[in-house]
């Protein structure tokens, strides 16, 4: 056991001494979780640039209406050209142009167009819809004031303030859409997830596995340096060497896993479900990753080969196992194929705990499958390493 620890500690020490490894283990995963949460979870505030040179009440109210939206900020620009430049440079995600004579033309009964500029990406388009909602609400007020002016003979200038006061108290019509079989629908499946939850679960599994495969390079170097054979020249068996090498990779995967879980809880309030269950999944998947890294380190004979193929295999299995697109979106046949990857079982364990309120007991089958994956990969790795070292 002392020898296993010695090999494991040296492995971990060597891995962590490499600055690039520190970046990929600790910094990169959090950045990716942040980016995915921001892009797909709607979790970060967007900024709308505004050019509204007029000083009318409606013009000001429109800008204020946008500023009042949750998670939307307003940045004012001094010219339309500056606003467009800001959008093009990504300083703001969308831009609203309100004509200088906005209030006057509305008062005159004219139809006034406000301009919206955005880059042709998902954020810009979605933000446009949000801005459009605010414009429509104001348009409804104007229509109401015009209606009152036309029917009751009240001047538009008097009717508009009344409409603005009355509107917030008006009972709204709520339309609820219910899909047939809603309990099984995707909507129900993902309902209640935080902006970063799904991405964090997926990225945890993806990165732990990628890091473990990258760790195979250390075993290849140990072989190339002749250190592995030299270890065999000591009173140390192949099994002990394998266990030590596995421990080294397990340490890194476990530390990375716990770091991502802890970091995302603190930074993004990600829900990982039952803490014991989450810990069990991280431990079991660390074993899978470590064993996979050992097998790769035993099969390949140079680290650049392992590095290239490791990324390919890591990303391929992650895609297949639901770490990029939720497995529930896959066709039925692909969902069955995905079950051949450990990733799918790990992601599913988090889904069970977070989306379906499961606990440790509910994910025992997943943990069993993950441990079986680890055992098979370890056996293959041991067999292969012994073969390459002693023949």
């Amino acid at each position: 056991m002392t020898k296993v620890l010695a090999i494991g500690v040296v492995n971990t020490k060597r891995f962590l001494r490499e600055k690039a490894n520190l970046f990929f283990v600790f910094v990169f995963p959090i950045l990716i979780v942040l980016m995915i949460g921001a892009f797909f979870g709607g979790g970060l505030s967007s900024t709308v640039g505004v050019y509204a040179p007029g000083d009318g009440e409606l013009s000001k109210a429109l800008v204020q209406g946008i500023d009042d939206l949750e998670e939307v900020k307003v940045r004012e620009y001094g010219s339309e050209a500056a606003l467009i430049d800001g959008v093009q440079r990504g300083g703001v995600q969308g831009g609203l142009v309100v004509p200088a004579d906005y209030d006057e033309r509305l008062a005159a009964g004219e139809t006034v167009e406000v301009g919206y500029v955005a880059r042709p990406d998902q954020t810009g388009i979605l933000l446009g819809e949000t801005v459009n909602g605010v414009v429509q609400r104001q348009a409804n007020l104007v229509r109401a004031a015009r209606f009152a002016a036309a029917r009751a003979g009240v001047p538009y200038e008097d009717a508009l303030p009344v409409a603005m006061v009355v509107a917030p108290g008006t009972e709204r019509v709520t339309v609820t859409t219910t899909e047939a079989g809603a309990e099984d629908s995707l909507t129900a499946e993902f309902e209640g997830l935080g902006a970063f939850d799904l991405g964090a679960h997926q990225e945890l599994i993806l990165f732990m596995f990628l890091t473990s495969l990258a760790g195979s390079a250390a075993l290849i170097q140990t072989r190339q340096l002749g250190v592995a054979r030299r270890m065999l020249s000591t009173p140390t068996g192949t099994g002990t060497i394998l266990a030590g090498e596995t421990l080294g990779r397990f340490n890194v995967a476990l530390v990375q896993g716990l770091y991502i879980v802890g970091g995302t809880v603190l930074l993004f309030r990600v829900d990982w479900g039952d803490p014991l269950g989450a810990l069990a999944v991280v431990v079991a998947f660390s074993l899978v990753g470590a064993a996979a890294g050992i097998l790769m380190g035993a099969v390949f004979s140079n680290d650049s080969q392992a590095g290239g193929l490791g990324v390919l295999i890591g990303l391929g299995l992650a895609a297949l196992g639901g770490c990029m697109v939720p497995i529930e979106i896959f066709p039925a046949g692909m969902q069955a194929v995905a079950r051949a990857t450990p990733h799918a079982w790990a992601v599913d364990a988090f889904s069970e705990m977070v989306r379906r309120d499961g606990g440790l007991v509910d994910i025992l089958p997943n943990l069993g499958v993950l441990l079986a994956f680890a055992a098979v990969l370890m056996l293959l790795g041991t067999w292969r390493l012994r073969r390459v070292l002693t023949r």
Binding site: L225, V227, R230, L232, S233, T234, P235, T236
Partner: protein, 313 residues
């Protein structure tokens, strides 16, 4: 056999159709330095790897310190210190960390390990650089650390596989002096080399290995006696050598003459004195000698005698 730290019998290893080691037997007594002398590709490293239990054997047995050794056995390895031909250290660890790591693998308790690491660092002359990563060392320093790891646990048998290959003369001499000192202190040593002068300097007994077989074995004196203490004289000639073979064989100091294309090989007693008359004889037979090379009896000559080729072929 009583008093032997190592016994190897009938070692055999093939790689596909290539027979790398073919029935090698040898033993090393307690405190003895035994050399395996042979050219590159002779089977030295394959033999030492099998003896060390690093390589699976196709046949044969190895017993170290009374215990059988194989790739799956570990207990006998505690008696052995192994210094591989290529430097086998972690470059991103310091000398102290490398030594400490292997000390743990040899099962040394922490109380003695630290002290022994310090001692070995002194022995290999790296005490003042012990905290530097070994990737920052010169080639000679790395070689010394490579040897230091083999010495760490105070083995009864030290196996060094061509430890001076690619080493500068100063470091090479330091390595040879270390081996001599360890030998004087009573450590048994298995030393493989293709440098005749190293085998002559260090080894009590030498096994001459070629094409996977030990061709001869003994002390330097015993091996040299195989060529009868005779000098080997190489005469480079014009193409015609046959006319000189008969007259040279009748010369009283010549024991053997072998003709080859463009050269004559003679085994001669007292070549220095006989050489002028040998050249006259060749000239009288109409064979023109273009150059002369005299090899005094040494292990190189023995190797040449046994295999018909030079050690560095």
């Amino acid at each position: 056999m009583a008093g032997n730290i190592l016994e190897a019998r009938g070692l055999r290893k093939t790689f596909g159709d290539l027979v790398a080691v073919d029935g090698v037997d040898f033993h090393i007594a307690e405190g003895e330095t035994y050399g395996l002398l042979g050219p590159n590709g002779a089977g030295k490293t394959t033999t030492i790897s099998m003896v060390m239990g690093l390589l699976e054997r196709d046949g044969g047995d190895v017993v170290v310190d009374g215990k059988p050794i194989s790739t799956s056995s570990t207990s006998a390895k505690a008696a052995i210190g192994y210094v591989p031909q290529d430097i086998a250290i972690y470059p991103d660890l310091t000398a102290r960390e490398n030594l400490d790591f292997f000390g743990r693998l040899y099962g040394m308790p922490s109380s003695t390990r630290k002290q022994r690491v310090d001692e070995v660092l002194e022995i290999i002359g790296l005490a003042d650089r012990a905290g530097d990563r070994s990737e920052e060392y010169s080639g000679g320093m790395k070689r010394r650390l490579n040897i230091g790891i083999g010495l760490l646990h105070g083995p009864r048998l030290l196996m060094l596989d061509e430890p001076t290959v690619g080493v500068d003369p100063q470091s090479r001499n330091a390595i040879l002096e270390s081996v001599e000192r360890l030998s004087r202190e009573g450590m048994a040593v298995l030393y493989t080399t293709h440098y005749m002068e190293e085998a002559e300097r260090l080894c009590d007994r030498v096994g001459i290995i070629d094409q996977g077989q030990i061709k001869a074995e003994g002390t330097r004196g015993e091996l040299v006696a195989m060529v009868g203490g005779r000098d080997r004289v190489h005469l480079a000639t014009t193409d015609r050598t046959e006319p000189a073979v008969g007259p040279l064989q009748q010369h009283p100091s010549v024991d053997e003459v072998t003709a080859a294309d463009g050269s004559l090989e003679l085994l001669v007693r007292g070549a220095a004195e006989a050489l002028p008359r040998l050249l006259e004889t060749a000239a009288s037979a109409g064979v023109s000698v273009t150059s002369v090379d005299v090899v005094e009896p040494n292990l190189e000559a023995v190797f040449l005698h046994l295999t018909g080729k030079a050690l560095r072929d």
